[in-house]
């Protein structure tokens, strides 16, 4: 008898065979795709050899691929509670102020998703009017600096704030009880609230003395004003009112005092048009060439001693005296006469830190009735208040034991003090030494305690730049590290509530609110001030009157001093990039070519070309090997490579300050030599210099060698018309002066091909060479906006800097007294671009809006486009500069010395916070270049679209344009007949560079006009 059949379902019962076959075939009742797939395999269950191999092959390959591709880990943390005002993808701007290392810029901080990523100028500011400096632009990178202190430290050891406070406070109390003096050593404090905090602190600790010292000192000017006018302050120089400006060693367009303000004001009278063919006239007497000198209508190169001596000569002419010891030449006489011809409309400024010199300058300005007109004490400038005596006081006090303790805030005397080395030992031996530095520096590394201050972008503060003009500083990100604001630390020790925000508000309510009449309530006043970032209070203008000082005696004394200088002098000066050295650890600034020398990553000795030739010190320009020269000034010796700069007079050795930092995060940041030890008397000019050749050479990371445009060719010596110039006189006669050939060039541009329609926008930029000072703020702004990598000294020596925008510098005339033109050079967005047709993969192409675009994803890196670019503005990613490709991160760079971006930690998550999320970070092996800030254009277009309106002129602005303090860059849509750029595009002064190639550039330049009518005849 057959076995009983047990069934589980009706189907099984009715048709058991089919049921079992179906069940065996697990996927049979699925989709058609599965059926087809399964059909390929035999159903018998005997896998054939072929199938086995097929599957084996597939699975091994799949496993290999899966195992070998390590996906990079991306950390992203969503908001747990989304702040109301933060919309992902939309930038927020907060008004603030950059006041550091003696520089002042009213700024807006651009934040994205809570991260500050870019500094913009605050256009509402009546001081800097939207202009920025290179340092301000770069300061955002220092927020994400790996060298920042992560918390309080005792020696090298990390401690908690509780412990730090306990120990420091007990030490302070102990010193107070002993009656031992403590020095609070700071640079200029322009914050009224901070001053109040210090006052409170001193009230609690009367043994504390506040010493104010600026490494780049204006003590001479301040003291002279005190002697002459009884007010120790810097007057308000109003360059916009001056018709004649004579500068003597004062780089007022680059580094001198409140230069961003002066640049904006200077430009007012330098903007020439047919409607307004007037210009101020500028003379510049200087030894070491600066952008101010190069921009001057008449540059008068004299050696450093003669900078001072020329003042005596000018004084003689102006005051009709005959004091011996002056130095004059026809140009100096012309300058003096020009000043006389414009009484009350002239301005004489001098950058030499010497009371006698400044007294002389004051006397000349006084004689010319410039006070009250172009120079005013109505609202004195507060950004420099330091005294040279303070430096000596500190040194002596520590040495003889008067000061048992010392606190450092925003000052780094171990590096910036002439006797820094000795000071380091004295500080280390002091009973208490505290530094409030926010990142590693020379002083904080020898202090007992480091109580790190917040970065200014994390802080509350206020800055009184001029009397009654106050800017607010507000935090734009919460503290990145366990830091505490300096003011709160002091308040803690003073026994006050450690809430600086409340303190400021209280201070403002008590002191500033009554001085304004616009807002009825304090809240409205406070909120609006924070929003605008600046407030102008009603003040009672100080009345000053000149005291009677015997200037003749001062001049005679000065003449005696000058005669002791000897033949050659050293001139110490600040560069636009690193200034006094505070920012000499900022890779963006280190890689910024100095506009005058074009050197990056280090300092050097500036000498005259004739000196270099005479002493066989000309460099090998091909290998960039520069001869090292040894200078001896008193007991100080310094060895640096020699750079011959046209326009430097004989007898001049210029040495930039601010380099040679030692306490920095990486060896790559240690560049050049520290020249502060030479600044013995606080005066930039050191006499009696002897030099000796060392026979050594050193490579300098120089980006441009000094070529003149007049070059030899097969047709003889001829000049390239890359920049065009005319004098004012010529311009008035013919607006096309200097640009006469353009008509013919345009006439001869013919093409067989149809031109493209630009129905929408046609983006165009016009750069006024006349108002471009070469200050390079735009270069750093471009770096920040477009995530341009830092490549480091080694790569710059190999001519691989990545800057999308560079300042070209051209000399004409003689080497002794050249005229110089600065020309910002960026992608010209040619409508007939040579780069576009040569790319084999069409990775670079033209947009319908006239933009020359790069498609990074498509680029394979043939570099054909870069070769065929007549402007050489295309940049190739030779290595993984930005750290975008992960696979070679730890492998360095083969036979090169390594990448700055890698070694300086610029690929670390911390510093990558500065990246602009709107701009692609480029990978290795692709070309990149200026995009006309296409992300900003897109943003502006979308805003207009959302509001259902046409884009207005000036809404879309490029980063370089907004950074420019002189508004030399105009950008806009040429199809908009109303746009400012449209008018300039057809201006008689407008020309394109090598236009005869029929590139049809969308960037035009306006000719440089110099107000040099009379001097040519002299």
């Amino acid at each position: 008898m057959a076995d009983k059949i047990y069934w589980k379902s009706i189907e099984e019962k009715d048709n058991p065979e089919l049921f079992y076959t179906n069940n065996e075939n697990e996927f049979s009742s699925g989709s058609k795709v599965v059926d087809e797939l399964v059909e390929g395999f035999p159903k018998s269950g005997n896998t054939s050899r072929r199938d086995f191999l097929k599957m084996l092959g597939f699975s091994v390959t799949a496993a290999t691929i899966a195992a070998s591709c390590e996906m990079p880990v991306r950390k992203s943390i969503p908001y747990a509670w989304k702040p109301e005002e933060v919309v992902p993808g939309v930038a927020n701007y907060y008004a603030s102020v950059f006041f550091s290392a003696g520089e002042y810029n009213a700024i807006l901080v651009k934040t994205r998703e809570g991260r500050p990523i870019k500094i913009e100028g605050n256009k509402q500011s009546i001081i800097t009017k939207g202009g920025t400096s290179a340092k301000a632009q770069a300061s955002v990178l220092s927020l994400y600096d790996g060298a920042r202190y992560k918390g309080p430290r005792k020696g090298k050891e990390n401690i908690s704030w509780e412990q730090a406070d306990k120990e420091v406070k007990s030490k302070l109390d102990e010193l107070k009880q002993k009656g031992a003096k403590v020095a609070l050593f700071t640079s200029t404090i322009a914050s009224p609230s901070t001053k109040a905090v210090i006052k409170d602190f001193i009230a609690a600790y009367p043994n504390v003395e506040h010493l104010v010292y600026d490494p780049i000192s204006y003590s001479g000017l301040l003291d002279a004003n005190e002697q002459m006018f009884g007010i120790r302050a810097i007057p308000d120089y109003q360059f916009s009112k001056a018709k004649v400006i004579v500068g003597v060693g004062a780089d007022y367009l680059g580094t001198w005092l409140n230069h961003t303000e002066y640049e904006t004001d200077w430009a007012v009278n330098r903007r020439v048009s047919k409607q307004n063919p007037r210009m101020s006239k500028t003379f510049h007497i200087e030894s070491v060439p600066t952008v101010t000198g190069y921009k001057a209508d008449v540059r008068i190169p004299v050696k450093p001693a003669h900078e001072e001596a020329s003042l005596i000569a000018i004084y003689n002419i102006v005051a009709g005296k005959n004091i011996p010891g002056g130095y004059s030449n026809p140009k100096i006489e012309a300058a003096a006469k020009a000043l006389i011809s414009a009484p009350g409309e002239g301005l004489l400024v001098c950058g030499i830190n010497d009371v006698k010199v400044q007294l002389l300058v004051n006397a000349i300005n006084l004689a010319l009735r410039n006070y009250g007109n172009t120079i005013s004490f109505e609202r004195p400038v507060y950004i420099k208040q330091g005294s040279d005596a303070a430096a000596a006081t500190l040194y002596d006090g520590l040495k003889n034991g008067t000061y048992k303790g010392v606190l450092f805030y925003e000052s780094n005397p171990v590096y910036q003090h002439p006797r820094g080395k000795e000071l380091a030992d004295l500080i280390a031996n002091a009973e208490l030494s505290v530094s409030f530095a926010n990142r590693l520096d020379e002083t904080s590394s020898v202090c007992n305690y480091v109580l790190p201050d917040n970065h200014y972008l994390e802080s509350w503060n206020d800055i009184e730049v001029k009397a009654g003009i106050i800017n607010t500083v507000q935090p734009t990100i919460s503290r990145l590290f366990d830091t505490r604001q300096f003011q709160e630390t002091l308040l803690t020790y003073a026994g006050k509530p450690a809430n600086y925000y409340e303190y400021i508000r209280q201070y403002w309510e008590n002191n500033f609110f009554p001085k304004q009449s616009r807002y009825p309530g304090f809240l409205a006043f406070w909120d609006n001030t924070l929003h605008d970032g600046e407030v102008v209070l009603n003040i009672n203008p100080a009345t000053v009157s000149a005291r009677n000082i015997n200037i003749d005696d001062v001049a005679a004394e000065l003449a005696k001093e000058i005669s002791s200088y000897g033949e050659a002098q050293v001139k110490l000066y600040e560069t636009i990039s690193v200034g006094d050295g505070t920012y000499a650890d900022n890779p963006w600034l280190l890689e910024l070519p100095d506009p005058v020398t074009k050197v990056t990553w280090g300092n050097y000795i500036v000498v005259s070309p004739s000196f270099a030739k005479k002493n066989d010190l000309l460099p090998d320009l091909n290998s960039k090997e520069y001869h090292v020269l040894k200078l001896k000034v008193g007991e100080q010796e310094i060895e640096l490579p020699v750079v011959a700069v046209p326009g430097t007079p004989e007898g001049t050795f210029g040495i930039p300050l601010g380099f040679g930092r030692t306490a920095v995060n990486h060896d790559l940041l240690k560049n050049g030599k520290n020249a502060f030890p030479l600044l013995k008397s606080g005066k930039e000019i050191c006499g009696n210099v002897t030099f000796s050749k060392t026979g050594k050479t050193e490579k300098l990371a120089i980006t441009q060698t000094h070529h003149t445009l007049t070059l030899k060719g097969l047709g003889g010596v001829r000049t390239r018309k890359i920049v065009k110039e005319a004098t004012l006189e010529e311009y008035i006669k013919n607006p096309r002066a200097g640009n006469e050939d353009r008509e013919e060039i345009l006439h001869e541009l013919v093409t067989l091909y149809p031109t493209h329609e630009r129905p929408g926008h046609h983006w165009t930029m016009v750069i006024d060479l006349n108002t471009c000072t070469g200050c390079s703020a735009c270069v750093v702004a471009c770096n920040a906006e477009n995530n341009i990598p830092v490549v480091g000294k080694d790569q710059v020596i190999r001519a691989r800097e990545m800057h999308w925008l560079r300042i070209d510098r051209y000399f004409t005339g003689s080497e002794e007294d050249p005229t110089v033109v600065f020309q910002p050079m960026l992608c010209q967005h040619c409508d007939n671009a040579p780069c576009e047709n040569v790319c084999p993969v069409a990775a670079t192409n033209h947009s319908s809006e006239g933009l020359n675009q790069m498609t990074y994803n498509r680029c394979i890196g043939t570099r054909y486009c870069a070769n065929n670019c007549p402007y050489k503005v295309r940049r190739f990613n030779w290595y993984d500069y930005a750290g975008n490709d992960s696979f070679d991160k730890k492998w360095g760079t083969g036979n090169d010395e390594g990448l700055a971006s890698y070694q300086l930690g610029l690929r670390e998550p911390l510093s990558r916070m500065v990246l602009n999320p709107d701009v692609t970070v480029r990978s290795r092996g692709v070309i990149e270049k200026c995009s006309f800030c296409v992300q900003r254009l897109q943003d502006a277009k979308l805003t207009a679209k959302k509001e259902n309106r046409i884009l207005r002129d000036g809404e879309a602005q490029t980063a370089c344009q907004t950074a420019c303090p002189t508004n030399a860059i105009t950008f806009g849509d040429r199809n908009n007949k109303e746009a400012a750029v449209t008018a300039l595009f057809s201006d008689e002064r407008a020309f394109g560079v090598v236009e005869e190639l029929h590139t049809l550039p969308n960037v035009l330049y306006l000719t440089q006009i110099r107000n040099t009518v009379e001097e040519k005849k002299v």
Partner: protein, 484 residues
């Protein structure tokens, strides 16, 4: 086959060759048995160099183009110099096999096989550079127009670099076909002589079923003619297109209409020089003096002096036009080229390319093997410098003086260049060891025993003092000349 053969014509094959068997024996011998020690020595050296070449390639791809000496202004230097140099070298092979075939210059048979092989290896070496010089070598496939899902996104047909892709790939394909079709009868000969089974098997496959039937020969001849017809325009077009890389650009020193003829002449110039360098070594190492004769060398030297002079005129024309144009940028480019920071490169180029071939106006120097060998090396050095001068000096100092730079190579640049020569030599040595270096079947077609014997007899009758040799009527001719 001509019925009449001038008795004044010198024989195309050396005096010691007596019969067809000897030809087969001598020409197949290098592929059989152990090669001479000299072969092993050179091969060992070149293979090591090739390994270093591969190392440098890997280094470049791993670390990036930054390992080369290029900079923001000079975006091409040794890479494209090498590329153009190698492409130029390849030209002699095609010229010899295709153009001389069409013109029925039968002396070509002694050297055409090796010259064609050289062409292929040179194109291989050349092809590496455009692929290697890109920033992202792994995406090189973007330059091929293939259907894709990116749009589809096509290549830019306006770009001379793309034209290069087509020109070179066409050139390579046709050259390989031409070379291989010519090899088939010879492979069959080797197969038929092979003793070991493996050898027979391999050469059987390589021979592609060649039986030597009349139909096969007829088709073989037709195919040769067709391929020769295809190759001939390529000789002119390939280097013309390569020259477009420069000629269509805007850079002063590149933007020149003279480039196509100038480049083609230069290519033939350097190609023949390289053929000579290789032949002079090969004929000694493999004892092929009877097949690659002094007459071959002399003919090639004549071409060298001709093309060298064409190139020289081109150089002078460039200078003249630069001056005559009145165009300041062009004027500076050429002034700078000759007297600027790269004057030494220009001087080397001028000496090697223009001065040194002039020695060949003298017959004794044309027929001197040592002079030929040294000058062939000189010519190739000169031609390398020509490309270097064009590419680097033009880029280094172009329109804006602010961007002017200087190019200095790194060891990787040098390694890749020298390595590519090693690769070329390795391939050639392997070729010489495994393939017949002289086209056996074709050489046999110019070897005519009957006429040679007759000529020798006649020479004897006319009073030749020496015994005439079969296969040679040298003696008779010389004596006849003496009598007249």
């Amino acid at each position: 086959m001509h019925a009449y053969e001038s008795e004044f014509r010198e024989p195309l094959i050396g005096p010691s060759v007596k019969n067809y068997t000897q030809i087969t024996d001598e020409l197949v011998r290098p592929t059989e048995g152990n090669p001479p020690l000299s072969w092993w020595l050179i091969f060992g050296l070149m293979a090591t160099g090739t390994l270093f070449f591969l190392f440098c390639l890997g280094w470049t791809i791993w670390f990036g183009i930054g390992t080369w000496g290029l900079n923001k202004t000079v975006g091409w230097a040794w890479d494209i110099t090498n590329f153009v140099w190698w492409i130029g070298i390849g030209h002699a092979g095609t010229l010899i096999s295709a153009i001389l075939l069409l013109f029925r210059q039968r002396f070509r048979t002694g050297i055409n096989r090796a010259a064609e092989a050289m062409t292929i290896f040179a194109v291989i070496c050349a092809g590496i550079f455009p692929l290697l010089h890109t920033g992202r070598q792994w995406l090189d496939f973007f330059i091929f127009p293939y259907p894709n899902t990116r749009g589809p996104l096509w290549v830019n047909f306006n770009s001379p670099l793309l034209w290069d892709v087509f020109a070179i790939s066409t050139y390579f394909t046709v050259s390989v076909l031409f070379w291989y079709s010519g090899l088939m009868p010879d492979f069959a000969t080797i197969r038929d002589r092979a003793k070991s089974k493996t050898r027979k098997f391999i050469y059987n496959i390589l021979a592609f079923g060649w039986q030597g039937t009349a139909k096969q020969w007829q088709r073989f001849e037709s195919l040769s003619l067709v391929l020769a017809g295809l190759s001939t325009p390529l000789v002119l077009s390939v280097h013309t297109i390569v020259s477009f890389d420069f000629a269509t650009s805007v850079i002063p020193g590149w933007h020149t209409t003279i480039f196509p003829p100038y480049f083609v002449a230069g290519a033939i110039f350097s190609g023949f020089a390289m053929v000579e360098t290789l032949m002079l070594i090969t004929r000694v190492v493999f004892k092929l003096e009877d097949y690659i004769t002094i007459n071959h060398i002399e003919s090639m030297n004549k071409i060298i002096v001709l093309t060298g002079s064409i190139v020289g005129i081109a150089y002078l024309t460039e200078l003249f036009i630069a001056w005559y144009s009145g165009y300041l940028y062009e004027q500076h480019a050429f002034y700078n080229r000759a007297l600027g920071k790269y004057w030494w490169a220009y001087a080397s180029m001028m000496f090697c390319n223009v001065v040194s071939p002039q020695f060949y106006w003298f017959k004794s120097l044309r027929r001197n093997l040592w002079v030929t060998f040294i000058l062939s090396i000189f010519v190739n050095i000169g031609m390398w410098f020509e490309r270097f001068v064009i590419i680097v000096t033009s880029l280094a100092d172009d329109f804006l003086p602010s961007s002017w730079t200087y190019f200095t190579p790194t060891w990787v640049d040098v390694g890749i260049y020298v390595g590519s020569i090693c690769l070329f030599m390795t391939l050639f040595l392997l070729f010489a060891r495994t393939f017949p270096v002289v086209a056996i079947a074709e050489v046999k077609s110019i070897f005519r025993t009957s006429s040679a014997v007759a000529k020798a007899e006649r020479a004897k009758q006319q009073g030749a003092t020496h015994e005439g040799y079969v296969g040679s009527y040298q003696v008779g001719v010389l004596d006849k000349d003496a009598k007249n």
